[in-house]
Symmetry: none
Subunit: 422 residues, 2 copies
């Protein structure tokens, strides 16, 4: 069972908005066992919409369209769909009444708007929309299903969840698709791929592997198509377990980020954390607190951008700052010790480095970052060398620092400070 998704709107073609609708729809359909063949975004032009419909209907059982259902003149989806189906737009009294009630309840004069919203392609099945003025539409042609939904994300989601997904499950009982994704951190994508080559070769043909690298590590996704879900789930679990045994220090687990792993470890053990950030400028704290529940383990952070603050608040030695420079093992370690004492936490994490674009020297080029972790009884530090891009350097230094803490929390100090670690 396959589907095409067509999103309609000029704003999608001038880069004014990022299309989140189609990835949301893709995820929902996948969970329902429907594969997406293609996602297409076209403008509010009848010709482009028709062409996209013509292509989609040849290849897929289901075509889901969003957007272009507004009452203004630039929205053409309904007219184009009606012409494409060879039917007329006809007035629907129930939709008219519903739109009038909705607008009145919001203190808006319905005016002429709602009449155009009640003009719908003859013979379509109307999907009432409780959250806006444009109803969804379910149409059929040559055994294929075409579904048109409004482009406003929460209206689209309301219709999908409340009506469309159930109707699709009824109409197309599907085979199962199972995905599971694990995170690896500390090895470059190519190095990881070499290390696990034999594991990858041994995967059964019905399991597909995908590499998804980002600053937070390399995610590996296994997907099983058309296999009994229980069997597939068990096989995927076993394969990932073998992967864990193959690269135990780099296999983080079933997380999207190392932050989630560290949050789980700290929350489970009841330990607390403090952070001292220089080059990461608050990015570690912000990414930890972006997850609900951070107050269970994070006591606080100090962003010590100036050397004065490193001395006055974190008790970094002025002589060491002078002698070794702010980007040094000594200063990173003293920052970690200082913020741990300040916050009275179990663990502390510190970063100091040169994010760029300025500030580099021949000995300490842009991208040089020192990371230190203070545990209840010991002190560790490690240097990494990143690239030239500030944004990228901040993201990667943050993730590497959190991963270093993770390795110490799971008792792998020799890995946490090993040279090859990213």
């Amino acid at each position: 069972m396959t589907a095409d998704i067509i999103t309609i709107g000029d704003e999608l073609l001038i880069g004014q908005v990022v299309d989140t609708n189609s990835s949301w729809i893709a995820r929902q359909l996948n969970l329902a066992g429907i594969s997406i063949r293609c996602r297409t975004a076209v403008g509010d032009k009848a010709e482009q919409i028709t062409e996209a419909l013509d292509t989609a209907i040849v290849h897929s059982d289901i075509v889901i369209i969003t957007g272009g259902l507004g009452p203004t003149r630039d929205d053409l989806t309904k007219q184009t769909l009606a012409r494409w189906l060879g039917v007329e737009l006809v007035f629907d009294r129930a939709t008219f009444d519903r739109v009038e009630r909705l607008l009145t309840s919001r203190g808006i004069d319905p005016g002429g708007i709602n009449r155009s919203q009640a003009m719908l392609p003859e013979g379509c099945r109307i999907l009432p929309n409780d959250l806006g003025t444009a109803p969804g539409m379910w149409m059929e042609r040559e055994g294929r299903v075409i579904i048109s939904l409004p482009g406003v994300p929460f209206e689209m989601k309301g219709l999908m969840e409340g009506q469309v997904l159930g109707m699709l499950r009824e109409r197309f009982p599907t085979e199962s698709i199972i995905h599971r994704t694990a995170l690896c951190f500390g090895l470059a994508e190519s190095t990881l791929a070499e290390r696990i080559e034999s594991w990858e070769d041994a995967l059964p043909h019905w399991l597909r592997l995908a590499y998804l690298p980002n600053p937070s590590g390399v995610r590996l996704r296994l997907s099983a198509y058309g296999v009994d879900p229980l069997l597939a789930g068990r096989e995927i679990d076993e394969r990932f377990e073998r992967l864990r045994q193959l690269v135990p220090d780099y296999f983080v687990g079933f997380y999207d980020s190392v932050n989630q792993a560290v949050a789980d470890l700290l929350t489970a053990s009841g330990h607390t954390l403090a952070v001292a950030e220089s080059c990461t400028g608050g990015a570690i704290s912000a990414s930890l607190t972006a997850m609900a529940g951070a107050s269970a383990y994070l006591l606080g952070s100090v962003v010590s951008y100036s050397n004065e603050l490193k001395q006055s608040v974190l008790a970094v030695d002025a002589g060491d700052l002078e002698r070794y420079g702010a980007v040094s093992r000594q200063v990173a370690e003293q920052m970690a010790v200082g913020v741990r004492r300040l916050c009275n936490s179990d663990y502390a994490l510190a970063t100091t480095g040169i994010a760029g674009p300025g500030g580099g020297t021949p000995l300490k080029p842009v991208g040089t970052v020192w990371i230190a972790v203070a545990t209840p009884s010991e002190l560790f530090s490690h240097m990494i060398r990143l690239g030239d891009l500030r944004e990228q350097n901040i993201a990667r230094a943050s993730a590497s620092a959190v991963n270093m803490l993770r390795l110490l929390l799971i008792g792998r100090p020799e890995v946490a400070t090993s040279d090859g670690l990213l």
Copy 2:
């Protein structure tokens, strides 16, 4: 001049990632006067990639492809492109050396897998990639241009900005499109639209207005198509000047964010800033330090997640914490005063609130945020009420806090603390 954008990757079809590449590319091409006809996302399957290429090449002068260039086996773009063009993949020594240098400089063993990164379609023009192992490729067929770029966003952007856009401008001289975008902050989109209705109505027909709301305010974009650039630029400047006079306290300027405006104001005046963050958890510091040059004005920040830290480091009164609670005017003001003293800065900004999902009470529901600013001589505070979503609350509270500082920096204390302000 039209372009098609094809993004490649199974992850785009199962909804695992949101495709930000194609909207970014669309925006850049638009600015260069190239219209996008269609955006298509397909999986890592040779048949789907070929089909998308066949369709695109018929309709557009330019086809830009991203993704599927990794060294792992799931990536098929190069092989598919070569077959589609009727050429072989051939070894490129310069690319091989470049990849080896890049990996070695990052402390990664190049190994054998990166040899595959140097196998490229015969006759293509190679676009060297300084930021990753996959080079871009520029190919031509029947007068159309096909450009293949890596899917990693910063590598793609590096190649587009450094090479592709310039090459396209040379190859396809286009009619002019001029866009200019100004930021407004502090009014809801619909309220702003009502206030500036007459201004909008008076725009000449060849100027198009677009509203671009996000947590950082409402950006207004004026676009002129096919008009003499000098004339268009002058007219746009005049229109924006009238807009500024219409809503002087909400018109921030030609910025993407209030952070940029505040960074400019502080840098120009030579004043310094310290930040104390509770509910925003480091997001203000991280967003300020994400911009190069932050060390010119930002001395440091304290993320005081725990009440103990509020007392010990920021000198918030224990009795007031007890009496008024951590989310209160008193605590916000004391945090601002405390961090200003700690860092010895000219200005200080503080936030304390309930980001959610937990922690709300009937009197202080989730979304309640107190913001305080300490200036060299005075102290201001203001409460805002946001929604239920943690991520949005953090983003909006951060932006509102920075905007409050902005209003005080430009001498508008009565607006900074006014009730209607978002």
